[in-house]
Symmetry: C2
Subunit: 83 residues, 2 copies
């Protein structure tokens, strides 16, 4: 069966996010001072062939740990959808 995964990889909440800080500052200059605490990470979509949703889940978790997220600085969350 074919599944689709939607993965978010974000900087850990305890860490500064300089890119997000810069964007928060730019919001004020653009006339959007209501916007605060911008944090920027990665959104990753992929397709995976697996026997079951649980198997797809395990493979995507492995891919996140091995390649997509740096767990020293980032955390990840994902959802699996049937395609």
């Amino acid at each position: 069966m074919k599944f689709r995964a939607e993965i978010d990889v974000m900087p850990l909440k305890a860490l500064l996010d300089p890119q997000g800080k810069a964007v928060t500052g730019s919001m004020k200059n653009l006339g959007l001072p209501e916007i605060e605490n911008v944090r920027i990470g990665k959104h990753i979509t992929l397709e995976i062939e697996a026997a079951s949703k649980d198997a797809a889940n395990a493979k995507v978790d492995e891919a996140c740990k091995k390649l997509l997220a740096n767990q020293i600085m980032e955390f990840y969350e994902f959802e699996i959808f049937e395609n």
Copy 2:
């Protein structure tokens, strides 16, 4: 009221995503050949002060158009949550 927005900015489906292609290739080397068609974009979270959910929606849409997404190469989607 305080709202939280979760924004995804992704490369347009019609465009090549070289970073995603490279990651798809790496999956095979890592023993995950089941994973295909990886696409990589940005995930952005922010907080916004607004009178209503509709007002927050309009502000976040403006922020995406003005700063967060390059609509020539990317599309964006977002959801607003009450904080």
